[in-house]
């Protein structure tokens, strides 16, 4: 990879200041960015590590029944510390990549990158999470704007993510065995005011909510409620791992499995 300037601030304010440098890039756990830089697909002139900022670390429960995860908290830490607060979220975190990747990769890094096959976007959208940055709070419904595209401005840092805890939830991932990313992943959550269904890995627009399934599951939270529904294959990713039609089929299958596992 090309060389760069490296800084490792210990406060959000210092990180924001460092990111004002020309072509500066935030570095979370680096599990996507460093391989990308090795390929010379990215060549930032400076990297600002966010992993030494205490206020961006940790998992806690808010008074509003939300699990709050610091933006630089690694997946392995979420898997441990959210296990009793929000088991479906912890289980999702515990199946990202492999154990070594989970010790480095961060929730903020995953959401900022918004890979169309990443797991965390499904949890954030499937719970209606709030993405808190150094300047504002963004609702998940406004945050995801297509493959690798988010509402974040240049230099904006995800400092915390707040996931509302549902009555029931489950995440089902059909793993692409070489990359361990989701070929299709579905996060289903049941709240008092209705169900949410978020799908990752499938659409060429990135993570999305499956509105028909949400309506059906809000009326009847059972896999049988999905029986008459079909996901159109036209917008789905089609590649050597699976056709669009295959992915569309998997969306329904994995949604049903998630509902059954959650109920």
């Amino acid at each position: 990879m090309y060389n760069f300037e490296f800084t490792k601030p210990t406060t959000i304010a210092d990180a924001v200041a460092a990111l004002k440098a020309d072509e500066a890039q935030a570095l979370g756990g680096g599990q996507t960015l460093l391989p990308t830089m090795k390929q010379r697909l990215a060549a930032p002139s400076s990297l600002v590590s966010l992993t030494a900022i205490p206020e961006m670390q940790g998992v806690c429960m808010s008074d509003a029944n939300e699990v709050c995860v610091g933006g630089a908290t690694p997946h392995a830490s979420v898997a441990i510390h959210a296990a009793t607060m929000f088991p479906a979220l912890a289980a999702l975190a515990n199946r990202i990549g492999d154990p070594a990747v989970r010790n480095r990769g961060t929730v903020g890094g995953s959401l900022a990158n918004n890979d169309p096959s990443a797991c965390y976007p499904a949890a954030a959208l499937g719970t209606g999470a709030t993405i808190k940055t150094n300047t504002r709070e963004i609702a998940a419904d406004d945050y995801f704007q297509g493959m690798f595209t988010t509402a974040l401005e240049d230099g904006e840092i995800i400092t915390e993510v707040r996931f509302p805890v549902p009555e029931k939830a489950n995440y089902q991932k059909f793993v692409q065995p070489a990359s361990r990313f989701a070929l299709v992943g579905v996060f289903v959550a049941k709240y008092a005011d209705g169900a949410r269904v978020a799908v990752t890995g499938a659409s060429s627009d990135g993570v999305f909510r499956w509105a028909e399934a949400e309506a059906a599951l809000s009326a009847d939270f059972s896999a049988g409620a999905l029986a008459g529904l079909a996901v159109p294959g036209g917008d789905m990713i089609s590649d050597l791992h699976g056709s669009g039609e295959y992915r569309a089929h998997l969306v329904k299958v994995m949604t049903g499995r998630a509902v059954t596992a959650a109920a």
């Binding site: 680096g30 460093l34 391989p35 392995a76 990549g97 492999d98 154990p99 070594a100 010790n103 480095r104």
Partner: protein, 161 residues
């Protein structure tokens, strides 16, 4: 160049490092600790796994400067004080858990990480935990068996295939 200092296998060590120097390069080229192997350099294979502050990481996907000051443990730190093989290493030898040996440093470090958190894993848990460690020789069976044996469990029922 910046002088980066960290504790490796209990000793404070320093070496010059560029910002882009990976932890794997720092260990192998800066410190000449070549036991840590780089198989794929794309964070797929796990041959480069070391422990940073007690956690297994892929050293080819960590910047050396990002872990300055950390406690790092590599395969060179896994032998007993008298130079004899550690429990996991010995189990790999006893159960033929390696053929070419290239993946072994990462396998041993990953196994140590597993057994620290889960001292008596099931065979399924061992296989799950090795998801990020690729071996092209053994078919994994004897690696799993070695790790089960290192955990003190009876492996006589795990037949070689």
């Amino acid at each position: 160049m910046t002088k980066v200092t960290m504790t490796v296998n209990g000793k404070s060590v320093s070496a010059d490092s560029e910002a882009r120097t990976l932890l794997s390069e720092f260990l192998r080229e800066g410190l000449r600790l070549t036991g840590t192997h780089v198989g794929c350099d794309t964070s797929q294979c796990g041959a480069c796994v070391v422990h940073v502050d007690g956690l297994a990481v892929k050293s080819c996907t960590v910047l050396a400067q990002d872990v300055a000051g950390a406690e790092v443990r590599t395969i060179e730190g896994m032998a007993n004080a008298d130079g004899s093989l550690g429990v996991i290493q010995q189990a790999f030898q006893d159960h033929h858990g390696l053929q070419c040996g290239f993946c072994t440093p990462g396998m041993v470090m990953t196994a140590a990480s597993l057994l620290k958190d889960n001292p008596k894993p099931t065979e399924h848990e061992v296989r799950e935990y090795l998801e990020g460690n690729i071996c092209r020789c053994t078919g994994y069976h004897n690696i799993v068996k070695a790790i089960m044996a290192a955990s003190g469990q009876d492996v006589s029922a795990i037949a070689a295939e």
